[in-house]
């Protein structure tokens, strides 16, 4: 009994309380180069013991792929993107481009060895061994185009994972599936040009949009591909299209159902989902359509029936401005069933046949980028421990939204990073939910960045935020400035990693910063 009491006391003392949850900088600028700093976009750091020596490493990929010793940030090895350790690292001139999406550390072939997968700006996919050498068959460049989405999944359940790759291109063959040996899987890429319109519509994949889950209950996984414009395609592992619910959508495939704000318009699917020509008399129901070039899909079994729902972010656009976007109207999320219908559960008091609407226009109607550089990533977590999940996402309106399944934003949500009195527009990275103080409720951790077109005297660096489950601020910690003085901005556009990297029983927050590489905070 005495022992038990002592253990409880130790845990209680070890766990940080909310009031003590102020991050302390552990180290910064880890993995930067001697002469310049590689910019980071949306690629989150990965924490793993890749060489199984009992110590964790930080893996991250910008213009180079770097492995750090997590406890102190020292460089273990570094290679230029598209190369391995057989080629000496070069600070200049040796790279196949930047990295847009997260690196993946996984045991690809189920052989007990971890591999590091990365996707780069010229379209090259690298698969490195844990000590930095190419696996046989790699690297591969199935398409010379901007690599934007990288996922792995064992589509055919043979124990070996396939590699899903999405490209930000201006045509329909934007989604590839590669085998673990580097060959392109038969039936891919999709959409094949000849199939466009016949089985769906597809264009570029501009964020880490792809995911895979079992849609038809046969045990194999299907690829879900939200792509530019209004369609979400779904494919079997051989590239054939997945049918949408026949009772709701007739004989259409997933890729033939355009997402409208109004579900009736979506089901009706006038003009193949593209809508009737605009004549100026249309109502909003016919005009507001989702845009999925930056539509990131997340999977979660919301109702606990063993089948994943698909949560996908979208930018609602007004068709009257098409084909020239922006402006756009608001960012939101859709929750879909495996048969492409919208999610509804009476038991959960959840009705997602209508979407959360009018959540706020972008702070800037960016002429180049619809999402104003925000990677609008849905994250699912039971924040308050009531057994029901919440859905969070960061938005181009300068807020982090959180929806209960009843489609309300509970408590004090949304959280606004950009207040009316703020001198600059500030945006959130994707969020991570962790119970930092072990009280059964999740904290929400994210970092921020500023609009790069805005300038003020002085340094503009984002902050590391920790919110409680109610959406109230626990701490806001300014990030270190950029490593190089000429870079006025530093912030974080990628999701943080929140792990215990040094085995002290407390979490650290690991950030891949825009202009200062890896920075780590103790919580």
């Amino acid at each position: 009994m005495k022992k038990l009491f002592c253990l409880a006391l130790t845990l209680l003392l070890a766990a940080p309380t909310v009031s003590a949850m102020a991050p302390v900088l552990k180290y910064q600028n880890a993995g930067t180069l001697a002469l310049w700093t590689e910019e980071c976009y949306y690629n989150a750091p990965v924490i793993d013991d890749i060489d199984r020596d009992g110590q964790k490493e930080i893996v991250f990929s910008n213009y180079s792929i770097t492995v750090l010793n997590a406890h102190d940030g020292s460089v273990k090895w570094k290679v230029n993107s598209g190369y391995d350790r057989n080629t000496p690292f070069a600070e200049f001139g040796l790279s196949v481009g930047h990295t847009w999406c997260d690196a993946i550390v996984t045991d690809l072939e189920g052989d007990g060895q971890k591999e590091i997968l990365t996707l780069h700006g010229n379209g090259t996919v690298s698969v490195l061994t844990s000590d930095g050498y190419f696996k046989p068959g790699w690297p591969q460049t199935p398409l010379y185009g901007a690599g934007r989405s990288l996922k792995t999944a064992d589509l055919d359940r043979d124990g070996v994972q396939e590699i899903l790759v999405g490209y930000g291109v201006g045509n329909c063959d934007s989604v590839y599936v590669l085998n673990a040996n580097g060959t392109v899987r038969p039936g891919w890429p999709q959409l094949a040009q000849a199939q466009e319109g016949k089985i769906g519509f597809s264009y570029g994949v501009f964020m880490n949009n792809l995911s895979a889950t079992d849609l038809d209950g046969d045990g194999d996984l299907e690829v879900i591909a939200p792509t530019d414009l209004s369609f979400i395609s779904a494919y079997h592992d051989d590239g054939t299209p997945v049918s949408a619910s026949s009772s709701v959508f007739g004989n259409r495939y997933w890729g033939q159902v355009a997402l409208y704000e109004d579900y009736h318009a979506e089901i009706r699917g006038d003009n193949g989902g593209w809508g009737q020509p605009i004549n100026g008399t249309e109502k909003r129901e016919e005009l507001y359509k989702g845009e999925f070039g930056h539509g990131i899909s997340t999977l979660s079994d919301l109702d606990g029936d063993g089948v994943n729902e698909i949560i996908v972010s979208t930018i609602m656009c007004n068709r009257k401005y098409a084909p020239v976007y922006p402006p756009s109207e608001y960012m939101t999320i859709a929750v879909l069933n495996a048969d492409r219908t919208r999610f509804k559960s009476e038991a959960l008091d959840a009705d997602w046949t209508t979407l959360p609407t009018d959540l706020g226009k972008p702070l800037v109607q960016n002429k180049i980028s619809l999402p104003s550089r925000v990677a609008q990533t849905p994250v699912v977590s039971d924040l308050d421990g009531d057994g029901k999940k919440e859905i969070l996402f960061n938005s181009y309106n300068g807020k982090v939204h959180c929806f209960s399944l009843d489609k309300r934003e509970p408590y004090a949500w949304p959280y606004s990073l950009t207040k009316r009195t703020s001198p600059l527009f500030e945006y959130a990275s994707p969020v991570v939910c962790r119970d930092l103080d072990f009280d059964g409720k999740q904290e929400v951790i994210f970092a921020s960045f500023y609009d790069e077109d805005q300038t003020l005297p002085g340094i503009m660096q984002g902050s590391l935020y920790i919110l409680n489950y109610e959406g109230r601020l626990i701490s806001k910690t300014p990030l270190p400035p950029a490593k190089e003085a000429q870079n006025k901005h530093n912030g974080v556009m990628a999701a943080p990693a929140v792990e215990d990297i040094d085995g002290d029983g407390r979490y650290e927050v690991i950030l891949n910063t825009q202009n200062g590489a890896i920075c780590v905070y103790d919580i």
């Binding site: 009772s247 709701v248 007739g250 004989n251 259409r252 033939q256 109004d262 009736h264 318009a265 089901i267 009706r268 699917g269 006038d270 003009n271 193949g272 009737q276 249309e282 109502k283 909003r284 129901e285 016919e286 005009l287 009705d351 209508t354 609407t357 009018d358 009843d406 489609k407 309300r408 934003e409 408590y411 004090a412 606004s416 207040k419 009316r420 009195t421 109610e470």
Partner: protein, 322 residues
């Protein structure tokens, strides 16, 4: 017996009081029942609603926040504002509106909370509640009242008024609930129901936003230009429809809802006898048969551009109820 008579009399008086209440008081009761108006006392009464006096800018702020469905949100978020004259009971509401760029003060630090609100101010605010934007050029602040009149938000009796009376405020709010959002078919009350500001039952009790049948909503944007359909026979699951004029047979489909299938579903169609006119390629029919299981069936005949999976809806019939 005396007791029963007294009870009956009390009930009668109570009912007759409600039924005899003024339209303004009825509007206030509607808003009160929906949680959009609180009044100065714990229970609903004419005294508590204070309809005969003017509204202040602070009261206007509270009402507008509630009409946006943000009452609870405002109280949770407790947004700061720079104004020094806002009473504590209105501060969260003014803060929420300020943070969301929906109000400004009369100066940087003076809101004018106790000043009488104007009809023009309230019209502009309620137009914004309905999705109209003066910033985007939907209306001018200077002509907000006439724009409000043009969409049915106010009637002409309010147009000439300057000060906002609470009686006018509640009427405008109820009008707004029954109006569609900017350039949409969806009513403000439907949006607030969807956002769980009040329940559909409460809305029904208040006589708001009568539920449109799923079929009507589904094909709301399609012009009705097909011949009128009626049931000529109904045996088991087989329903034969007859039309009052020839219907071109190509692309004809039937959609339905039923007690078993509340979502709009396409029914298999067996076309009736098709006839052709001399020198005409198109075939026509005056009947068709569909197979639809279940009870409480509503159906509609639509003409589409194709017999394949992808099509446009070109026209619709009346909705037929069985």
């Amino acid at each position: 017996m005396k007791k029963a008579l007294a009870l009956f009399l009390a009930l009668f008086l109570c009912c007759s009081t409600v039924s005899a209440q003024s339209p303004d008081l009825a509007a206030a009761k509607t808003l009160y029942d929906l949680g959009l108006l609180k009044g100065s006392k714990d229970e609903f009464s004419a005294d508590a609603m204070e309809l005969n006096r003017t509204a202040t800018r602070a009261e206007l702020s509270v009402t507008v926040t509630r009409m946006l469905g943000k009452d609870e949100k405002a109280r949770y978020q407790q947004n700061a504002h720079p104004f020094t004259d806002v009473p504590a009971w209105a501060s969260d509401y003014v803060g929420w509106l300020y943070e969301n760029y929906l109000v400004n003060g009369n100066s940087d630090t003076y809101f004018g909370a106790e000043e009488t609100a104007s009809v023009q101010q309230f019209c502009a605010m309620m137009l914004r509640v309905l999705g109209y934007s003066d910033a985007d050029g939907d209306f001018d602040y200077a002509t907000a009242k006439t724009y409000a009149l043009s969409i049915g938000l106010i009637d002409s009796s309010i147009l000439e008024k300057t000060d906002l009376y609470r009686s006018d405020m509640v009427q405008i709010c109820v009008n707004a609930l029954n109006l569609p959002l900017k350039n949409a078919n969806r009513l403000l009350s439907t949006k607030l129901m969807d956002e769980r500001v009040f329940s559909s039952e409460a809305a029904a009790r208040a006589g708001l936003g009568e539920r449109q049948s799923p079929l009507a909503a589904f094909f709301a944007s399609v012009d009705q230009n097909l011949p009128k359909a009626r049931v000529s026979s109904h045996a088991g699951n087989r329903i034969t429809l007859a039309f009052n004029e020839d219907l071109e047979e190509y692309g004809v489909r039937v959609f339905y809802t039923s007690a078993d299938s509340p979502t709009v579903t396409e029914a298999p169609v067996k076309k009736g006898k098709i006839h052709y006119y001399p020198n005409g390629a198109a075939g026509y029919m005056t009947t068709l048969t569909v197979t639809i299981p279940g009870e409480d069936i509503e159906l509609i005949v639509v003409k589409t551009s194709s017999e394949g999976a992808l099509y446009n809806v070109l026209g619709k019939s009346n909705i037929v109820k069985l």
